[in-house]
């Protein structure tokens, strides 16, 4: 645990060192990055040690705050979540130096560095905390850092709006957690997680109420479907490496919290698993559908985070079902699928956000419609992003498939069948996968393939290797997990077993039976790459010595095509948008060309968020009107104020005397 403290101290130092040396940007950046890297590597080494089966003695120190104590411990669950925290922080932090360098003048580098490093440290503390007060402190520092990162460019109105929505959601979340821990802690008489777990009520309305609180509090953070609405607002406006962190890691803290809560419960009612399955199915399908309707690259990625959180929720739902039916294999499968997807999503989503940042800077905007042809102009960025895109669609041989395969296995396999609804969740998952493929061919195609549609895209170029290096690393990790999944799956499975309070050996043969195919999945994936390479060589051999010409794209007889006539992202998504019109409620503004020589015509489509734009904002506007009416109480006349006093006095006298 000393190492953990050292790592946290290094990260905090990385946060603070940037301010005094701000006058010399290179030194500040280098120093901060070195400290960040040292902190992350130390922490990651510790986490890996625990995941490899090492034991770390918990750290306990008195903390002179009521109910508080400095209880830190590293069990496999904590360690598993530390891995993405440190990995993504290191990659995104390195990338961030290059990013901030290019954004000088628009972003305050010290400000961003400070909150970025502090965010990393606070998340690590929250994950390792075993005392509710300490947990809440770490949690809120994390939320506030994330908020300030979102608001890094607060001159823009949309950034302020996003920041406000975000801070409201995160504060509502923490209020739910206040009540949750207050109730649990008052039952236990202590705020230690261990004592709380021992004092939890048995199955009944009380336990379900606590679960509802946890689901709301942690779900708001994670972005489960009805609570997702802040996410597509907040993630796009942050600096891209911060978005990578927010989307890749901070969301997962909600998952961590929920898993921690479930691990405390000695009995899990079956309804919880079904609720999680329902949330997972709806989040994944709706998340990807709304992603499909977006034109803003980072907003699109944010909706995809909702989709992936949905997949994680499916895994957690399976694990919960396993717990309530006493099916050890399902517990392991479900939770390890969820955990592995946490890791996977953090890798490919941060990769995609880093790529999006590079595109954003190259194009001067996040809209995908004006871009095109970037694979030619930004070859490295686009190649790495392609890996991320394929991975997020859950395609083999990348890592996304491994965790999705585990979810499918848990949903479909007979030996773990405890609920008939699970099968239909599989259909939702399948649809999600296909829609994600549609969405990413759209986004990736519009951005990087074909011809540039605007001058900015013409001039775009790859960033330096400070930014490309981390992307390369993340891409390699995505491919690596996809090809060699076993060690990662085994680590996740061990965590899942501790989560389900099973001894590590329980259910081992059947588990081995379920996990063995993954080796094969990895090798077949490698085989696919090999085969494709073989065919590529074949083609090269065949074409060797023959005429290989270069010409224009076949225009189907039209002789003067321009890049503007390429298929746009919106038209690409249009068949699906029309098919799901009832859900998406796309708003279009269409000024058709008129007359014989039409001069101007325009078409615009955007998709408001169903929860934020269609429900919450109108509702809050109405509530505000009602409040304004109620506020006439305070209308300025002293006589009425005195009347309140008088009436209240009489009321209390009659009531109490």
């Amino acid at each position: 645990m000393r190492l953990f403290l050292l790592s946290t101290a290094l990260l905090t130092a990385a946060a603070t060192v940037s301010f005094p040396s701000a006058s010399r940007p290179r030194l500040a950046g280098g120093l901060s990055l070195a400290l960040l890297a040292a902190g992350c590597l130390t922490g990651a080494a510790l986490a890996l040690f625990v995941l490899a089966g090492g034991e770390v003695a918990p750290l306990g120190a008195p903390w002179p705050v009521p109910l508080g104590s400095l209880q830190l411990a590293l069990d496999p669950l904590s360690a598993f979540f530390l891995v993405p925290i440190y990995t993504v922080a290191l990659a995104a932090g390195t990338y961030g130096e290059g990013y901030l360098e290019r954004a000088r003048g628009r972003l305050d580098a010290s400000y961003v560095r400070f909150f970025f490093s502090l965010l990393t440290a606070s998340m690590a503390v929250a994950v390792c905390a075993r005392n509710a007060v300490l947990f809440l402190v770490g949690w809120e520092i994390m939320a506030l850092c994330a908020f300030f990162l979102v608001c890094a460019q607060d001159r823009k109105p949309e950034v302020r709006r996003a920041g406000f929505v975000y801070i409201l959601c995160t504060h509502s979340a923490i209020l739910c957690l206040f009540v949750l821990f207050a109730v649990m802690g008052s039952r236990a008489g202590s705020m230690e997680f261990g004592a709380m777990a021992a004092a939890l009520p048995g199955p009944g309305p009380a336990l379900n109420g606590l679960f509802a609180l946890a689901l709301t509090g942690f779900g708001l953070k994670a972005g489960f479907m009805p609570f997702h609405f802040w996410l597509p607002e907040a993630h796009p406006v942050a600096p891209s490496h911060a978005s990578a962190m927010l989307s890749g890691v901070v969301l997962k803290m909600g998952i961590y919290g929920l898993l921690r809560f479930i691990s405390m419960c000695s009995s899990v009612p079956p309804a919880w698993g079904l609720v999680l399955l329902a949330i997972g199915a709806s989040s994944s399908v709706l998340g990807v559908l709304f992603a499909l309707a977006q034109h803003d690259l980072k907003r699109l990625l944010a909706y995809h985070s909702i989709e992936n959180i949905g997949i994680i929720a499916l895994g957690m739902g399976l694990g919960c079902l396993g717990l309530s039916h006493g099916n050890g294999l399902l517990v392991t499968l479900g939770f390890s699928a969820a955990l592995l997807h946490v890791l996977n999503h953090s890798l490919f989503k941060s990769l995609l956000f880093l790529g999006a940042g590079a595109y954003d800077q190259a194009l001067g905007g996040r809209a995908i419609e004006g871009a095109g042809g970037l694979l030619r102009r930004m070859p490295w960025t686009s190649t790495f992003s392609w890996v991320g895109a394929a991975a997020i669609c859950g395609l083999p041989p990348f890592n996304g498939f491994v965790s999705e395969w585990l979810v499918y296995y848990g949903l479909l396999a007979r030996e773990v069948r405890v609920s008939q609804y699970a099968m239909f969740a599989a259909a939702a998952l399948a649809m999600t996968g296909a829609l994600a493929a549609a969405c990413f061919t759209k986004a990736y195609g519009a951005l990087t393939l074909g011809e540039p549609r605007g001058p900015a895209a013409e001039r775009a170029a790859d960033p330096g290797w400070t930014m490309l290096g981390p992307m390369a690393f993340l891409a390699a990790a995505c491919l690596g997990i996809g090809l060699l999944p076993r060690p990662f799956v085994d680590a996740a499975a061990r965590c899942a077993q501790t989560l389900g309070r099973m001894s590590a050996t329980a259910g081992s043969p059947s588990l081995e039976g379920a996990l063995r195919p993954l080796t094969l999945v990895g090798s077949v994936g490698a085989l696919a790459i090999l085969l494709a390479g073989l065919f590529w060589l074949c083609r090269t051999a065949l074409l060797a010595g023959r005429v290989v010409g270069a010409g224009p794209t076949w225009g189907c007889g039209f002789t003067a095509p321009t890049p503007r006539m390429q298929y746009t992202a919106s038209s690409y998504a249009q068949p699906l948008a029309r098919a799901f019109d009832g859900l998406l409620n796309e708003v279009t503004e269409f000024a058709p060309p008129t007359g014989y020589w039409p001069r101007r015509a325009s078409f615009e489509a955007h998709t408001p968020d169903p929860v934020l734009d269609r429900a919450l904002l109108p509702a809050s506007a109405r509530a505000e009107q009602a409040f304004v009416r109620a506020r006439r109480m305070q209308h300025g006349r002293l006589q009425y104020y005195l009347l309140y006093v008088f009436a209240f006095l009489v009321f209390v006298l009659l009531w109490k005397l």
């Binding site: 694979l375 030619r376 070859p379 392609w386 395609l395 498939f401 999705e404 395969w405 499918y408 479909l412 396999a413 007979r414 069948r417 008939q420 099968m423 239909f424 259909a427 399948a430 649809m431 996968g433 296909a434 493929a437 549609a438 990413f440 990736y444 195609g445 519009a446 990087t448 393939l449 074909g450 039976g513 094969l520 999945v521 077949v524 085989l527 085969l531 494709a532 065919f535 074949c538 083609r539 065949l542 074409l543 023959r546 005429v547 290989v548 010409g549 270069a550 010409g551 794209t553 225009g555 189907c556 006539m565 390429q566 298929y567 038209s571 690409y572 998504a573 068949p575 699906l576 098919a579």
Partner: protein, 300 residues
Amino acid sequence: MNLTLTALCAHLSALLVLPPLLLGIIAKTKAAFGGRKGPPLLQLYYDLFKLLGKGAVYSRTTTWMFRLGPVLSLATALLAGLLAPLVGAAPLSFPGDAVFFAYLLGLGRFVTAAAALDAGSSFEGMGASREVAFASFAEPALILAVAALAGATGSLSLGAMFSGALWRSFGAGIVLVGGALFLVMLAENSRIPVDDPATHLELTMIHEVMVLDHGGPDLAFILYGASVRLLVWSSLLVRLALPDAPGPYGWAAWGAGVAVVGVLIGAVESSMARARLVHVPQFLVVAICAAAFAVMLSLR
């Protein structure tokens, strides 16, 4: 894997050699329905041979993505063929390979669509758009069908699910699953009524328009890959319906079955018109519903 070398060789050679023949059968059937003589049965072999011998012209817009599409989609098709049982056990078989099968095909689709977009033509973009849109409906139908079979057989391996041994216990389910899979197969392999492989109007094409810019060996890879996929799908249908018997009899039965599927496709294509594009999702929703009912039956 208890797979004999002969069985493996038989599987591989069937997978590698037979696919173009199936397309020939379909073409002959359609010609017969139309009262024409039609192209020779081995026409696609000639075409492939000719294409492989040609040079290539690449659009100046394109990048490595464009070149990756044909080779990777062919690789995925062949690997899917290794996962799917033809006669006897598949060379690659493990619990959960059904899901892998579906996602391999998805990978092929993903790279094909990306390659199409790389050309930068609005027609190819349109084709890719339709392809991925329809796949979004085909995929859940496929997974539900798999789920139904998994529910009925208790296994998540294609070999066990498609063993033709379920008629007694799960007859109605087999019919529903078979129907769903047939519809999905038509969609996935760009057949009428979803797509018309013989059309000459780019605006109405799906798959054909995606590969407009490919030529020479690339086009050969694509055409061959498509035929491999069709064979694999047909084989799955056959294995769903017919009991499995190893050895030459099994191969004979399998060959006859695949030929019947080819004729069936040809018959459908001759008797139906291509559906309007907006109706294709409805068509696939039928498949989803059929598969969902099968799941319910399997759970009883």
